[in-house]
């Protein structure tokens, strides 16, 4: 069930790891960026999107405590309506906790909406050159 439903904000690849992309140059060769997770100062931060506007902080924290202890949590509210904007940042001490959470919760439904769970910060590195057809054809 983890990444089976990829509807929202997920058109760029898998659940946050090793995403690849190409530049928009008009040449035939394109360098590939590979995004790996980037550690933050105090831990590993994941980015949740697609949260229902009536989501409650406690419910989100409860849910995201299943695969690790939530060290830090940020939820933003729409200044006009006072409702949840739709994204949250959740920090774990260990990379494995964050990765397990991404694997298990990405594409899951919460309050009737499909949520996306990705890394918040990434470490891009150019891993080589490829033709556009290689990228599109994978």
């Amino acid at each position: 069930m983890s990444a089976s439903d990829r509807r929202e904000g997920t058109r760029h690849g898998d659940s946050g790891q090793n995403q690849e992309s190409s530049d928009d140059g008009d040449g035939s060769t394109h360098s590939i960026l590979r995004y790996g997770p980037q550690k933050s100062v105090d831990g590993w931060v994941i980015f949740v999107t697609g949260l229902h506007e009536e989501s409650q902080e406690d419910d989100i924290i409860d849910m995201f405590s299943e695969h690790g202890q939530v060290k830090d949590f940020k939820l933003s509210y729409n200044r006009r309506t006072g409702q949840v904007i739709g994204y949250a940042m959740i920090e774990y001490a260990r990379q494995s906790e964050a990765q397990d959470t991404i694997n298990n919760f990405h594409g899951k439904r919460f309050l009737g909406k499909t949520i996306s769970v990705h890394w918040a910060f990434v470490k891009p590195s150019v891993v080589g050159e490829s033709t556009l057809s290689d990228i599109d054809g994978r």
Partner: protein, 155 residues
Amino acid sequence: MTDPSPNDDFYLRYYVGHEGKFGREFLEFELYPSGKLRYANNSNYKDDDLIRKEVYVSPAVVEEFRRLVEVSEITKVDDSKWKEPDERSTGHQELECKIGSHHIAFTACEIRSLGDIQKWNDPEGLQTFYYLTLDLKALVMALISSHFKARPIPD
């Protein structure tokens, strides 16, 4: 070479600043298609230094920025009637965004509250602009403080 990315039609830059009693104070951020997020905040209050941070955010985060811009419908706003900022008294803000085929670049006075803009031309457009900039700033602040554990000075 430009930053390669799947979000290659999305770019965002925001600046707000003024000359105040502590000198020139500003906040600026810029999001590149690659996900590179640059943030700068200069507050001279209590001799705070210029803070500059840079981090790559994931495509999912870039997508959320894009979504905020889209739902705001800022691309339908026309700033031609907005009053020109007076740097000496009010400070100013700039919002530049490339999204799909749209490329907007707005300049407005610094808006301290919604009450300010009711007296100005095009309060509706300015309100759209105001709320979008609040939402964008909130996202940037949350990202910067999450990653660096710095406490950015809220505007």
